[in-house]
């Protein structure tokens, strides 16, 4: 990979964030949704650029973390955005969706955002001065775009969209319920967003064996006195899946 590629990706992320802010200045009431997804994309690009730079410097583990940050941020953000889109006129559900989208701790995009900001700190500690300062500049631009989107997003809760009709309207409550369940569950177990992203990123960077060993160590409490959290997580997921299944069964029985 040419050395200029990470810089270009970082510049694209920073530019996207700044463009989004500039566009909001030009038009007083831009679409809140557009501001939200643009800012998430900008952050994902910045973290991806960070990962590419880590890879160029031979630090595959940090590269995997940065890529995982970008992917998990997008995953949590997209789930929140979808919930927001599916919940017009439902203030509680749309508030929850917005909180997931914005990465309000510990919801939705938060684990990815947190991982990415940590990766920026690692860059400052490990990479050459000018490279890391470039990373910080790009991350600050993305952060500014994020705050801007945050400020814009309030109007989304007040948007009074007409209710949907037709066949799709019947599946809306189920989809909404499943997204809320996923959001709540992921708030207890943030690795629901992070783990698939980590596996994907690690397979891209060749760090998968290391990740699997680390996961294996988490599954068994090797250190005396330290309990593993994974069994509790599995239990929680099993309980959540069962409740969702029961809910779906109950809903379908009522319809029949």
């Amino acid at each position: 990979m040419p050395a200029v590629v990470p810089t270009l990706v970082l510049a694209a992320g920073a530019g996207l964030a700044l463009w989004s802010g500039w566009r909001s200045r030009k038009t007083p009431l831009p679409s809140g949704l557009s501001a939200l997804w643009t800012s998430a994309l900008a952050f994902a690009l910045v973290f991806a650029g960070l990962g590419m730079d880590f890879r160029l410097h031979g630090m595959s583990d940090h590269a995997a973390t940065a890529f995982a940050a970008a992917l998990s941020l997008l995953a949590g953000h997209a789930a929140g955005l979808l919930l927001l889109r599916l919940s017009p006129g439902r203030p509680a559900a749309s508030s929850f969706g917005l909180a997931m989208t914005l990465g309000l701790p510990p919801l939705g995009a938060f684990p990815g955002l947190w991982l990415g900001l940590q990766a920026t700190q690692s860059s400052l500690l490990l990479l050459p001065a000018w490279t890391s300062l470039l990373h910080v500049a790009a991350a600050l631009a993305a952060l500014a775009g994020w705050v801007r989107a945050w400020q814009e997003s309030g109007s989304l809760l007040e948007a009074d969209s007409p209710p949907r009709t037709g066949a799709g309207a019947r599946s809306l409550p189920i989809a909404r319920g499943m997204l809320i369940a996923l959001g709540v569950l992921a708030a207890f177990l943030p690795w629901i967003w992070v783990l698939p992203a980590q596996v994907l990123a690690a397979s891209l960077t060749g760090e998968l064996p290391v990740l699997l060993v680390a996961l294996g160590m988490m599954l068994t409490p090797l250190i005396p006195g330290q309990a593993s959290v994974i069994p509790f997580g599995i239990l929680a997921i099993a309980m959540a899946v069962t409740s969702v299944l029961l809910l779906v069964l109950r809903l379908t029985r009522r319809q029949r």
């Binding site: 909001s24 400052l124 890391s132 952060l143 708030a187």
Partner: protein
């Protein structure tokens, strides 16, 4: 035991904010118990205001999640857990109130750059560890100034009472935040909270603003305690009294300084100045070494 302790800690963090605001009011103008409890009453009344269910529900849900499970899952170290808990609660409140507070991008950027500089200075990504290794020096002072000035507009009520008039019509509608620097076009001073709910729920707006501001004041107090540490062995009553006096002096000097600067020069772009200090600190730490 740990989840219970974490829950109690979160409850303390959340409730201390309004109490601190009440205490400041009592210290400034007296009024006894009613003045002490006034901010808490205003917050609870605001959250119970009719037509405002989402934020109240969301706050309760998120608090339950944070308090109950998140921190013990992330950290087995109780102290780190408590620190993380406090910061998470702070972020949570800031997030909930973002629409109602003059959150400026410059302030957020100043805090982010300062924390990155602090981590680089101490060689650790762990904030608690970084604060434990705090040493006085040019970079430390710049970091501290960055944090202080960056958060000052949010902590101190600069430019109050808020103006709620749009640029175009002068009607009491939502001011619009413009640009990545976070300057708002809805008020003369650019510091008034967005009243996007119109005038229908001023109670909630005020309540959330007071809650967040007082909780940020608590965070400021914690930073003041941790910054520039002086080790005093607590071997006797006089040394205990000395440590307590030092804490009081730091509190008065650090807290009073930010309030004084905000009150004396209300038009001063404190957040932007803080951001500049943070960037300078970052450059000094990274390029000066």
């Amino acid at each position: 035991m740990t989840p219970l302790a974490v829950f109690l800690h979160t409850a303390m963090i959340i409730s201390l904010g309004p109490l601190l605001a009440g205490w400041s009011r009592v210290a400034a103008s007296g009024g006894g118990l009613p003045a002490l409890m006034a901010p808490s009453r205003r917050i609870s009344a605001g959250l119970r205001a009719s037509g405002q269910p989402p934020l109240g529900h969301l706050a309760a849900l998120a608090l339950a999640i944070v308090a109950g499970l998140l921190i013990p899952l992330f950290s087995s170290d109780a102290v780190l857990g408590f620190l993380g808990d406090g910061f998470t609660a702070l972020l949570l409140l800031t997030g909930l109130s973002a629409r109602y507070l003059p959150i400026r991008a410059s302030g957020v950027l100043a805090v982010a750059a300062s924390l990155w500089a602090l981590g680089t200075l101490s060689g650790s990504t762990d904030l608690a560890q970084a604060l434990a290794f705090w040493e006085a020096g040019p970079a430390s002072w710049l970091i501290f100034l960055g944090l202080a000035l960056g958060t000052a507009p949010m902590i101190c009520e600069v430019g109050a009472p808020p103006a709620r008039h749009s640029r175009e019509s002068g009607n009491p509608v939502a001011p619009v935040f413009t640009g990545v620097t976070g300057s708002e076009s809805g008020s003369d001073d650019g510091m008034s909270p967005p009243a996007s709910e119109g005038e229908s729920a001023p109670g909630l707006n005020e309540a959330l603003a007071a809650w967040t501001r007082s909780t940020l004041q608590l965070g400021w107090l914690a930073l003041g305690m941790m910054a520039f540490p002086v080790t005093i062995p607590l071997t006797s009553w006089p040394t205990f009294a000395a440590a307590l006096a030092l804490f009081g002096i730091k509190l008065i000097v650090l807290g009073g300084l930010a309030a004084f600067v905000s009150a004396r020069w209300p038009k001063l772009p404190l957040a932007e100045l803080g951001f500049a200090c943070s960037l300078l600190a970052l450059a000094l730490v990274k390029l000066g070494a």
